[in-house]
């Protein structure tokens, strides 16, 4: 760029005047989470519609009660594969033709299953919505599960498993789940299934899973964006009104989240320049009454950049590029995990600092200043989280998946502001369990085993990437 102004050019910064004083905030403007309406079609299919006319865009998500938690034992991975296969052949079109139809209208569709739901979603320009949604109808109501594509997507999942094995961070995540949950618990194994369970999946199993779970009564269609409630309902009625069927009602097995007994485990990676560290235990189910206290407690411990763990490990010690903690909020109790990657020679010291921070949060109340740093962040950032149609659709999907009340987002900020130092301390004492921590580290055993044993006072088990114990 060239400068057209006429001010004199100064070459030094010595003449800088004093900095301006820090300004305070002005009066805040009010904000409401987008208004939405819920309806149920006569076949039991539910609709949630949030008209937001900022840009000519609409996000549509079909949320189906067909997540990995609905799988039968021995069929781990069937939920994920079923969702992905919807895109690989439906209503007489093969996968390539379907991709073509979606992409020609600029509305590439995504279909995947996680723990609690399968979701088919896309974002389209408003005038493309009817065409896009009629394709979604084909996927949901008339998938074909061609044998060739079943085999291909199984092979791609097996390739993915191999790829993730080679990534220290992904390997640490996988091994942490195995160290945290009993082998009988579904959460001990990846949502997408293991190599053994995926190999055993067949087209028939997938078709059965589909017909038991992909039913109007188990499906919610979420619209967010430039669409009216009337148009959305009319469109849904015309495309799905005559869809009939009953979803499987009985839960196939009690959902087991049993913990494993404590362990400090090193997954050996010779000459690793860094250690991928996971520390945690079984956490809480999403609808726990202490949700807000626990969430704010986690924000202070490791949920934010300015959290205790990140400021300690990164900003005070320079051990890592980043350290954070999180509850994974699922219908059943997902893991609570602290994640970081540190230079190999400080692995023991880093784990010691993490344990110290957990103990510290359980020992005494946080100051009001520290509490409000977390709560004013969570309160203030709320509108920033819902700038896009996709983010609004995801938020509404979560209401559906977790059975939260319609008023949930309207009350969210008040609930956050209502958390007290006493509530944080209670949450830390009740929901952080130093005596139940699992510690999993992917790194060089010759460098880190002894420091880890010293830092934790516990025996260190060394395993290979398959989780099989090798000599310590």
């Amino acid at each position: 760029m060239t400068d057209a102004s006429t001010s004199e050019s100064t070459s030094a910064r010595a003449t800088v005047s004093a900095p301006t004083p820090r300004p305070g905030p002005t009066a805040p403007r009010s904000y409401s989470f987008p208004r939405f309406e819920r309806m149920t079609l006569s076949n039991g299919m539910r609709l949630v519609v949030a008209p937001v006319a900022k840009l000519p865009l609409v996000t549509v998500s079909a949320v189906v009660d067909a997540g990995a938690a609905a799988e039968r034992e021995g069929e781990e991975g069937v939920a994920s594969l079923t969702a992905q296969l919807l895109l690989e052949g439906a209503a007489g079109l093969d996968g390539a033709a379907l991709a073509d139809r979606f992409e020609r209208i600029g509305a590439a569709a995504d279909a995947h299953a996680d723990w609690d739901a399968a979701t088919i979603s896309l974002t389209a320009l408003t005038d493309r919505l009817p065409e896009a949604l009629s394709l979604v109808r084909d996927l949901l109501r008339a998938p074909e599960f061609p044998e060739r594509e079943v085999v291909r997507l199984k092979d791609e999942r097996l390739a993915e498993i191999l790829r993730l094995r080679a990534e220290p961070g992904a390997l640490a995540d996988e091994q942490f789940d195995r160290a945290t949950y009993s082998p009988t618990a579904r959460y001990a194994w990846p949502a997408g299934g293991t190599a053994a369970s995926v190999r055993a999946l067949t087209r028939d199993l997938i078709r059965t899973f589909y017909s038991q779970h992909y039913q109007p009564g188990a499906t919610t269609l979420v619209f967010a964006g430039d669409v009216t409630v009337g148009d959305a309902v009319a469109l849904a009625e015309s495309l799905f009104g005559d869809w009939s069927g009953e979803a499987l009602r009985d839960v196939p097995r009690p959902f087991d989240t049993a913990p494993r007994t404590g362990v400090v485990r090193v997954v050996g990676k010779a000459d690793a320049p860094q250690s991928e560290i996971r520390v945690g235990h079984v956490g809480l189910p999403r609808k726990h009454p202490d949700y807000f206290d626990a969430m704010v407690m986690n924000a202070i411990l490791g949920g934010l950049f300015s959290s205790r763990i990140n400021l300690n490990l990164r900003e005070a010690h320079g051990y890592t590029y980043g350290a954070f903690s999180a509850f994974e909020w699922r219908r059943a109790a997902g893991p609570f995990t602290i994640h970081t990657a540190v230079k190999s020679d400080v692995t023991g010291a880093a784990v010691r600092e993490i344990l110290k921070e957990i103990d510290g949060l359980r020992a005494a109340e946080v100051s009001n200043d520290e509490l409000t740093l977390a709560t004013s962040y969570l309160d203030g950032v709320f509108p920033i989280r819902y700038e896009t149609t996709a983010a609004i659709a995801t938020a509404l999907s979560n209401l559906v998946i977790h059975g939260l009340p319609d008023s949930y987002y309207d009350e969210y900020r008040e609930r956050v502001r209502g958390v007290t130092p006493g509530g944080v301390l209670r949450a830390a004492r009740q929901h952080l369990h130093p005596d139940e921590l699992r510690i999993v580290v992917v790194g060089d055993p010759t460098v880190i085993s002894t420091p880890l044993a010293e830092a934790t006072g516990a025996p260190v088990e060394v395993v290979n990437p398959d989780g099989v114990e090798t000599t310590a």
Binding site: A108, Y321, P383
Partner: protein
């Protein structure tokens, strides 16, 4: 779709772009400095990025850790990033906290050095070295983003060297380097400030003038060496890397027309035809039909000087040898070069890109970043409003001309990652024009 844009320039050279949107009570502040790894001097690779970290360590009126804390307490999000030719810093805050964000940016633009200490530098050096380990050294295929530019740009070119930097160059960085870099490049006349979202256009000018106005302009910046390059590599380039991976993976980089040129849009569409989403040639041919690959994509670097890069990135299935993978990817390039593309393929690419352009204008932060981008590179933020049109103007003939000129074997740099045990085999099977293809 057009977003509203206003601009003005302060006497000290700071260029300001504004885009109002009162949908929600939030506002994005985004600052681009026209400096990146290309401006580093020899022996200081990685310095521009290390410096970016130092900008979060406080300034004259902001104590260590307070930069993050002030924004967080205000209910805002923030970050920064470093690229080959620019560095950006950004916050999105509730609109009643706009002036705080402006003040923080002005305080570090004007008054960074009093807050710099050896201890802060040493800690951030450790953090950045851990970032390097985490993103590259302990990551399968992680070195690709250091190796690929090195294959495509000659050693003397400013885009050749590592953005994250070598460990020894990071070790060498000193407080003197910080002062020199700051004084040279972090000046109002080398920056663009963009503000998007819920603000009052009259008030915001007063705020910007109040906090940034007193900061003096900079002196002369050292000129970058000549960036111009031949339009092709002039012959095939190839590197084989033995890595701790199970699946082979290939990156093929081609010199392509710089971002902003008419030909860039044709190149971008060719890239989308090859590797954007499931309907692309690489996905359809190599993933779906022949099942040689597990994943495939294409992307451009969007560089505005010298040469841009169009990159294909394809990961093999476990049973696919690195040689098969390499041959199949090159065969797709041969085909597009020889036979060209269809009108349907071009239409699909344009429609997908256009939707993505709209989607990316939804958030205030993304809008502000795009305004800064076009203002920094081209002096004209309103270019954000003509991007979809530029894509729509591209013809099949333009894409075919690009493919003929740039996608041939003489312009392909192949970076092949192979599992260690397969490495010897791969490097002994050199591809030649007459041989494998």
């Amino acid at each position: 779709m057009q977003i509203p844009i206003e601009t003005f320039r302060l006497a000290n050279g700071l260029f300001v772009t504004l885009s109002e949107d009162h949908t929600a009570p939030l506002v994005a502040v985004n600052l681009w400095y026209h400096v990146g790894s290309a401006n580093e001097r020899p022996g200081r690779t990685g310095f521009a990025h290390l410096f970016e970290h130092m900008l979060f360590q406080g300034s004259a009126s902001v104590a260590a850790n307070e930069h993050f804390e002030f924004v967080q307490r205000a209910g805002g999000t923030l970050n920064g990033s470093t690229w080959l030719d620019r560095t950006n810093y950004y916050e999105t805050v509730p609109s009643n906290q706009l002036e705080l964000a402006l003040w923080l940016e002005a305080n570090r633009m004007g008054y960074l050095l009093p807050a710099m200490t050896q201890q802060k530098l040493d800690t951030q050096r450790d953090v950045v070295q851990n970032e390097r380990r985490w993103s590259m050294d302990n990551q399968p295929y992680g070195t690709w983003w250091e190796r690929l530019p090195a294959l495509v740009f000659p050693a003397s070119h400013p885009f050749h060297h590592s953005l994250i930097g070598s460990m020894s160059d990071l070790d060498a960085a000193s407080l003197d380097d910080i002062a020199q870099f700051f004084t040279t490049y972090y000046t109002p006349d080398n920056a663009v400030l963009s503000i998007a979202g819920d603000f009052d256009p009259v008030e915001v000018r007063t705020m910007v003038e109040r906090h940034f106005g007193p900061i003096p302009r900079g002196g002369t910046k050292p000129a970058l060496p000549d960036m111009a390059l031949d339009s092709t590599l002039g012959g095939p380039v190839r590197e084989v890397v033995a890595d701790d991976v199970v699946l082979s993976r290939i990156f093929v980089a081609m010199r392509s027309p710089v971002f902003g040129s008419v030909e860039y849009y044709a190149a971008s569409i060719a890239g989308a035809i090859l590797g954007l989403k499931k309907g692309s040639r690489l996905h359809r041919g190599l993933v779906r039909e022949r099942q040689l690959a597990a994943e495939a994509q294409a992307f451009t670097y969007d560089l505005t000087k010298g040469s841009d890069l169009l990159v294909l990135d394809v990961t093999a299935r476990p049973e696919t040898s690195s040689e098969q993978l390499e041959r199949a990817v090159h065969a797709e390039l041969d085909r597009i070069q020889a036979e060209g593309v269809t009108a349907e393929e071009v239409a699909r690419a344009i429609t997908l890109i256009e939707t993505d352009l709209f989607v990316s204008l939804q958030s205030a932060g993304d809008r502000a970043d795009k305004l800064s981008l076009f203002a920094t590179y081209f002096g004209d933020p309103s270019l954000v409003n003509v991007q979809a049109e530029r894509y729509r103007e591209v013809t099949v003939e333009q894409v075919n001309a690009f493919a003929r000129e740039r996608l041939g074997p003489d312009n392909r740099a192949s970076l092949l990652f192979v599992p260690r045990e397969m490495a010897e085999l791969a490097s002994s099977n050199e591809l030649t024009e007459s041989g494998v293809r």
